[in-house]
């Protein structure tokens, strides 16, 4: 016997049966939706259903219920038994089955029976004028059906005007012989309606029956306030405080009693302000309570088995922030259910529990709220993302292959970037992950993703607890007052100009041995009338910086007023705060301000630093870094940039010194291991990347510590006795009590790039150098070898020296002066610049060719200023030979006289 065929004693009896059955089904469902099933409750429900169904003759239903009851009883008696996943599936299937039987009945019968339909329509949280909306809904329904009852009841208009609920319940019966109405379509057509569902009856939602008396009591005692009322209160209080300040100022010369009374007023106003702000806070459960249902529905639609567990609902959050979170959170959950969780069969194959798990967790710490949406599904399809990136021209195939998960994740948040080609109607409601990120950004929060293939994905959102009130450190720069969130402030100290070390256009100060970027805010923001006295170290997530300001005014709780229109124009400002004295403090977003500093830095040129130093001190500047226990130096001319260590992709088949490649601003750089180079032991640590640019070659040197830049005079450099093997160190210098080994990267480079060999280079185009005498200076044995060989091959006579001083001596003692002098720049004792100067001064007839690995335009210009006939960058040996040829003709013609400079272009 099916349900339809049943006969009832009375319509009431049927209604009662249906209603009770509905409750029992709800209980069954509830007991199994949460992580820890309530077996006892499920058992009782199944038992009762069995009885009821049997009584009315629904034997099929009864036997199914009996089946379930038995299995549940088993578990109930043996709590240690493993809960089979199939049991859970069966319970839920049973519930669905019965419900379908019931609903099908209710829906298909448009005419004969007068069994009412019960619907609950949920309004969107942003709906203004809820009463009007509810009225509209009921009116609409009333046009198409006969309303039996509703909530709000609509008996009088006043009820609607007072209405402030989020849901409208309505029970209605079809009218006479109307064609069946597509109710979901009707509800969909009403604006600001978010969801609609059929419910079993107009009774209270059975779920809420479970609430304790205490909770019900608490709910009674709460009232709803329109957010605008709170805004008004806050504005009024703000003004009150301002008037107080004014009064206080004018009444300066009064009795202590008056002053005390005024203070009292201020205190009260501030307390009220505080309370009003706190009134805006609501527990997150307000938002979360609707999600289990949503997940349940989605799971059903997708034929997947998914549970949602919720934790931390008591965490408080500003209701304005919460309002805006609803859509993004819903999207993330839907995403997890749709894309993340696999089908039951897939999970079975993978050996996972049949039911997919979505985990919603909220917590708060230090004024920030953290919300995690995690699933135990298939994780992010990295390869799919890679392919998508290439297909969308966001990355080249190479870049995609080398891309780290961080950079791929960044793409997830680009508009329109979904790894499924057809966006399913569930998660494609126009709220993409890019909107989620946008919303989080606008709320001044962060979102990041963690994912393990096959294991699951986690979305982690962090938001400020409230947008309204903030504990801020107020600082003054000239006439401008800024506020830094106290959470971001690490330390405040007096400022000394000498603490700054200038590293390639970036100012840095010492932070326990690590460089910390520092910026003088009056310069960055172009504020006049500033007198920098204090430096504040700040941190925002991974960003660390130091700001130099005039004075610190103190810490204060301030009310932030958002500035809507102004925000996009000044991205580092999060709002304005009205201070008690009437001034306005501009609140800053540390991360954004640091970004601004970063932009300014990247446009700075490295050359000015080098030029300054080489002109003043006969030597040059060296960047000191540490690998293992020792310190080394690299010529600052070669250093492009210093960065914190980034991710390195290992490459097979590279030189043993090369660790792999890394991406810096979308270019790939080979990473040279400082440790391996210096043979310094174990391969861990490493904290910094030194980006090196040398004669068209770029690479990154990975080191432990970057210390500072020091000027070292050439005379201070002690040459290192050469031995076989790789000449890495070209000299030693003592700086500030420690010995620094200066690295010769020419040798390193040529070792790593062996294909830069000389042999076989266009021999035919090379001029003959018969009879040409060349003096050569280079501290690198390898270089001397290479050049000497190349020149001798063309018939020249070559005398090679290790450094400038020796070459000068050689010239002084020479019987036949050479036609051409070829010199490197970086040499100990006397560098190339000085050699050049001296040769040109004492032997003007000799052509001098400078052959260097320094890339900078300025060093080239410097050479030419000093009289070089030609400047060549290593390593184009063929070109060098040609130039020697040219220069020798010049020199030969004008021997003893002045040489025309063959200016290099």
């Amino acid at each position: 016997m099916t349900f339809y065929e049943l006969t009832w004693d009375s319509p009431e009896e049927k209604e009662l049966f249906v209603a009770e059955l509905g409750d029992l089904l709800q209980t069954l469902e509830d007991s199994w939706l949460s992580g820890e099933p309530d077996v006892a409750a499920a058992f009782r429900a199944a038992h009762t259903i069995k009885g009821s169904a049997a009584m009315v003759g629904l034997d099929d239903w009864s036997s199914r219920a009996h089946n379930l009851e038995d299995r549940l009883d088993q578990i109930r008696k043996n709590p240690d038994d493993q809960l089979e996943e199939s049991l859970r599936l069966d319970v839920l299937n049973f519930v669905d089955f019965i419900r379908q039987e019931l609903n099908g009945r209710v829906n298909s019968e448009a005419n004969a029976e007068s069994s009412p339909q019960h619907w609950r329509i949920t309004l969107s949280p942003a709906c203004a004028l809820k009463g009007a909306r509810a009225f509209q809904i009921l009116q609409r329904v009333g046009e198409l059906a006969r309303i039996v009852s509703s909530r709000p009841s609509g008996e009088d208009i006043q009820e609607f005007e007072r209405f402030d609920g989020n849901t409208v319940d309505v029970s209605f019966e079809p009218i006479g012989d109307q064609p069946p109405v597509d109710w979901p379509e009707i509800f969909r057509s009403i604006p600001e309606v978010e969801e609609w569902e059929q419910i079993e009856s107009m009774e209270e939602d059975p779920k809420s029956r479970g609430t304790t008396a205490a909770q019900a009591q608490q709910r009674e005692n709460m009232i709803r306030i329109h957010p605008q009322v709170l805004e008004g209160l806050l504005d009024g209080l703000g003004e009150l405080l301002m008037r107080h300040a004014e009064l206080s100022h004018r009444l300066n010369e009064t009795s202590p009693a008056v002053k005390e009374a005024l203070d009292g007023v201020k205190q009260i106003a501030m307390n009220l302000q505080d309370m009003t702000l706190r009134a805006r806070m609501l527990p997150l459960s307000t938002l979360f309570h609707q999600y289990p249902r949503a997940v349940h529905d989605i799971a059903r639609k997708l034929s997947k088995d998914i549970t949602l567990s919720v934790e931390g609902g008591e965490t408080q959050l500003d209701r304005l922030v919460m309002d805006r979170l609803h859509e993004p959170l819903l999207h993330l959950i839907r995403n997890a259910a749709d894309h993340g969780i696999e089908t039951a069969s897939e999970r079975l194959r993978k050996g996972k529990p049949l039911a997919g798990h979505i985990f919603l967790q909220a917590s708060s710490r230090k004024g920030r709220v953290r919300i995690v949406v995690a699933d135990d599904g298939r994780g992010i399809d990295w390869n799919g993302l890679r392919n998508k990136a290439v297909a969308r021209d966001v990355m080249t195939a190479d870049q995609a292959r080398n891309a780290t998960s961080e950079s791929l994740v960044a793409m997830l948040f680009l508009p329109g970037f979904s790894t499924k080609d057809q966006v399913s109607d569930l998660s494609g409601r126009g709220v993409g992950l890019d909107v989620v990120k946008d919303t989080v950004d606008q709320l001044h929060g962060d979102i990041r993703v963690e994912s393990e293939p096959g294991r699951g994905t986690r979305f982690i959102m962090e938001l400020p607890m409230t947008m309204a009130i903030l504990s801020a450190l107020l600082i003054a720069i000239g006439p401008v007052v800024l506020g830094i969130p106290v959470l971001n402030v690490e330390r405040i100290e007096p400022w000394h100009q000498d603490d700054v070390k200038h590293t390639l256009g970036v100012d840095m100060i010492d932070d326990h041995g690590h460089p910390l970027k520092v910026t003088v805010l009056s310069q960055l923001l172009k504020i006049e009338g500033s007198d920098p006295q204090m430096v504040i170290r700040v941190q925002d997530g991974a960003v660390k910086m130091a700001f130099v300001v005039d004075t610190v005014l103190g810490q204060q709780d301030v009310v932030i007023k958002p500035l809507g229109r102004v925000m996009p124009l000044i991205p580092w400002m999060t709002g304005a705060a009205l201070l008690g004295d009437g001034r306005v403090a501009l609140m800053m977003d540390v991360k954004r301000l640091a970004e601004k500093v970063g932009h300014n830095d990247s446009t700075a040129l490295p050359e000015p630093v080098a030029a300054e130093n080489t002109r003043q001190v006969p030597g040059s500047s060296w960047l000191v870094f540490g690998v293992g226990p020792l310190y080394y130096g690299i010529s600052v001319d070669k250093v492009q940039e210093v960065l914190l260590q980034g991710p390195v992709n290992r490459i097979v088949g590279q030189h043993p010194l090369v660790e792999g490649v890394t991406m810096i601003r979308e270019e790939s750089y080979p990473v040279l291991s400082g440790k391996k180079l210096m043979d310094a032991g174990d391969l861990d640590d490493g904290g910094y990347f030194i980006v090196v640019h040398m004669s068209q070659h770029r690479f990154v040197l990975s080191v432990d510590i970057v210390k500072e830049i020091v000027p070292i005079a050439w005379s201070q450099i002690q040459p290192v006795p050469h031995h076989d093997g790789l000449e890495v160190i070209m000299g030693l210098a003592e700086v500030g009590g420690m010995v620094i080994q200066l690295v010769d990267f020419d040798a390193v480079l040529s070792e790593i790039l062996p294909n830069e060999s000389v042999a076989g280079e266009q021999k035919d185009h090379l001029p003959s150098l018969r009879g040409v005498q060349v003096f050569l200076a280079d501290d690198s044995r390898l270089a001397r070898q290479k050049l000497t060989t190349a020149l001798i091959n063309q018939g020249a006579e070559v005398t090679a020296y290790e450094e400038g001083q020796a070459l000068m001596t050689g010239l002084a003692q020479a019987q036949n002066l050479p036609h051409v002098v070829v010199t490197d720049v970086e040499m100990p004792k006397m560098d190339g610049y000085h050699l050049l100067e001296q040769v040109k001064a004492e032997f003007p007839g000799i052509s001098v060719i400078v052959h260097t690995s320094l890339d900078g335009r300025l060093s080239k210009e410097h050479c030419i200023e000093l009289g070089a006939d030609f400047v060549l960058t290593k390593w184009d040996v063929g070109e060098l030979v040609r130039r020697v040829g040219l220069a020798s003709h010049q020199g030969m013609d004008n021997k003893g006289g002045r040489t025309h400079a063959l200016i290099a272009d």
Binding site: L129, A132, P191, Q228
Partner: protein
């Protein structure tokens, strides 16, 4: 599709007009209730966006008059917060939908969409 915008603030009409024309609607304007009723009769627009508070002839009265002429008229009321009672009254008199100021442009377009489909 033709829409009649009724609002006594010229600025409001202008902004709305800009929004609607960008979305492909043909827009007519009226600065008060009387004008609205007259223009409705003459032009028969597909929809009316009617501000509730206007001097002389209020939005509600204009709505009633238009509905009297054309019971099938599509009128969407534009109201401010705190005018819920009037909105309910308008719905009772046949307004199809309402929008609350300050409005999001998408809201207006969505509402028009729903009413006209």
């Amino acid at each position: 599709m033709r829409v009649l915008i009724v609002d006594d603030a010229a600025f409001m009409r202008l902004r709305l007009k800009k929004l609607l024309t960008q979305d492909g609607y043909e827009v007519e304007e009226a600065g008060n209730g009387q004008e609205a009723v007259e223009k409705y009769g003459a032009l028969h627009p597909d929809c009316v966006l009617m501000d509730i508070t206007m001097p002389e002839m209020s939005g509600i009265d204009a709505l009633k008059a238009i509905k009297a002429e054309d019971p099938g008229a599509n009128v969407i009321m534009v109201s401010a917060l705190g005018q819920q009672a009037m909105v309910i009254q308008a719905i009772q008199h046949g307004a199809r939908d309402f929008i609350v100021k300050p409005y999001e442009p998408e809201r207006v377009l969505a509402s028009l969409n729903k009413v006209l489909s």
